[in-house]
Amino acid sequence: GGWSRLAAQQRLTQDDLIGGGSFGNVTLIHLTDLHAQLTPIYFREPEINIGVGANAGVVPHLTGADFRRRYGIDDGSPAHYALTYDDFTALAQGYGRMGGVDRIATVVNAIRADRPDALLLDGGDTWQGSYTCHHTAGQDMVNVMSALKPDAMTFHWEFTLGSERVHEIVQGLPYAALGQNIFDAEWDEPAELFKPYEFFETGGVQVAVIGQAFPYMPIANPGWMFPEYSFGIRDEHMQQMVDEVRAKGAELVVCLSHNGLDVDKKMAGIVTGIDVILSGHTHDALPEPVQVGDTIIVASGSHGKFVSRVDLDVRDGRMMGFRHRLIPVFSDVIAPDADIAALIEAQRAPFRPQLTEVIGQTDSLLYRRGNFNGSWDDVICDALLSEREAQIALSPGVRWGPSLLPGQDITREDIFGVTAISYPEAYRTEMKGEFLKIVLEDVADNIFNPDPYYQQGGDMVRTGGLGYRIDVSQPQGARISDMTLLATGAPIDASSSYVVAGWASVNEGTEGPPIWEVVENHIRELGSVRVEPNTSVEVSGI
C-alpha cells in the first residue's frame, strides 16, 4: 500500500516500456484476447490457476509471489502490478489503468519505426466483450483494428456473432483471416473463407503464418450459431500445413494460435517445424517465451494489457536466435495515438449516454479471473438468485471481463464488460441434484483433465447458493463432493429438484431476460455492492 500515483509513474517512461533497437531481421507483434476493450481498464490477474499432470506447478500455472520469484520481479514493481494479483487495489491506484487500443497503436507505431515491415498478428477474441461491440455486432472493433493495419488474425468468440455476420465481416476484412482447423462441417474440407496460412516477405525472409482457431468452439460456445463449421485441434493437418509451407520456401514458420497455452505446449511437442507459436485464449501473460524443443511459445495476456514484440534472426532458412519483450501497456505512461483515439471516440459517441449511466457503486474489488469464483461472478450469481428467485445460480467460467476498484462507480459499460455475449438469456429451470453433480464434474474435467487436449481453457463454472469440495487430482466423476445448499446447509440430494438460474447456455431456444438486465436491476436495488470473501468451494489435490 501507500503508493503515490506520481511516484509510481515517475519510474516509468514510454521509451523504457516499449524498448528500442531491433535485433535480427524479422519482427512479430502479437496482440490477443482484446475482448473488445477499446479503452484502458483494470484487470486483475488470477490468484488461483491450477495446473494438473505435467503442468502442475509450472508456467503458466504460477501466480502471485511464485510467479514473481520465477521471473525475478520485485514486489511493488510495475511488473508485479501488471502480471500478478496481490495488492491489486493499492497498486492499481498507483499505476493506473492498462490497455487502450490508442496506446497499443503508439506501441505498434514505435516498433514499426524501428522495423517498418514488422508483422502485426491478432490472436482473436477481438470482436466480443463490450457494450459497443455487442450493439454494433463487432463493427467498432473491426473499424478500429483495421486502422492498426494488422497482417492476419485467427478466431474464437468472433463466431458467436453467428456465421452470417462472420462471413460478412471476413469477406471485407483488409487482412488475412486464418484457421487451418476451420473446416466445412458437411464435407469435412478446409473452409473456403478461412485460409490455413499466409506468406509474408519481411526483412528478406519468407515468413509463413499458419492460423489455429479455438479448437473447441462448438463445445464451449453455441454450435447452432455456426453450424457450417467444424474445428478441432487437427494436429495432423497442422503438420501437413507446416510441411507444405516449408516445401514452398518458408524460412520461418509462425503459428498464430488460439489453442490456449497448455494445448500449445502439447502441440509443439507433436508437430515439428514450427518456429514460433503466438499463443492466445487462456489469457496468460508471460515475460519470457516457453520453449518446447525448437519451438518458442509467446503468451501475450488479454484485454489490451500487453503487446508482445518478438525479434528474430532468421538465416539460411533457420531461426538462429530471438529477442522477446512483453510490453505492458500502462495507459498513463504510453501516450494515446491521436488518430486512433479519435476513431475510438467515434465508435463510442453514439452510445455515450448508455455507456456512462451510473447504476451503482462498489465497495469491493470486483474481478473475475481465477479457476473458481471471482467477486464479479459473486455479484452476478447473487443477482440471478434474487432477481430470478432461484436456490442455486450458475455463471460460466469465462476468463474475460475487466475489474473494478473499491469506491468506483458501476456503469452500464462496466456491467456489459463482464456479460456482453450474443446468448445472454438468464434461464430459470429445475435441476435434479444428480444432474448438478454431472454439470460440475463435466466442467471440472474441461479444466483439470491431465491431458491438455481434453481441456477447453475456461475456468470452473461459478456457483451461487451452492457449496462443494473439489479434488482436482481425481478423474471425472470423482472430483466433486460435499455439495451443499448454502441457504439451509443441507447436503444436495441426488433425486431432489432445485430451482436453478444461470446464463450463457449453449442450448438453442433458451429463454429469459438478458443477464445484463438482471445484474443491472440487482445493483440498482443494492445501491452499493459489497462482496464478502467466498468460502463456498474447498479445493484439494493440488
Binding site: 464451449a220 454450435g223 478441432g232 454439470v439 474441461n446 487436449y453 475456461g458 447456455s505
Partner: protein, 128 residues
Amino acid sequence: GLGAAAMMVLPLRANASATDDLIAEFTGGADLADTGITLTAPEIAENGNTVPIEVSAPGASEIVVFATGNPVPPVAQFSFGPLAGSQTAATRIRLAKTQDVVAVARMADGSFARATQLVKVTIGGCGG
C-alpha cells in the same frame, strides 16, 4: 450448456462386456493384435450426435466398429472389395456419452486387430 439437457447415465461395464461378446462373435474368439489398425476420432466430440471417425487397416477385408457405451454397441461393418483404393473409411456416428469407440479388422490372412479411442461427450459451455 448448463440447461437441462437429458444425459444418459448407463453402466459402462455392462455394455463394454456386450461389445466383448460381439467382438468374440466376429473373430470366433481369435487373438486381437493391437497393431495394423488405426482408429481416428476426436478427443472431445463437437456434437455427440455426429462424431467423425476414420478406420484404416491396410490389407483388411472387413472392419467392424462398436460404440461401447451406447445402448446398442454395433455401429457399422465395412467390407472392402477388389477396387478399394485402400482399406480406409470415414463416417459420422452417434455417441450417447463419453465412451471408448472400438474398431476390429479382419486381415487377409484371417488374423484380427483392434484399435480403441476414448471420445469425450461433454455438456460444454465455458471458454476463455
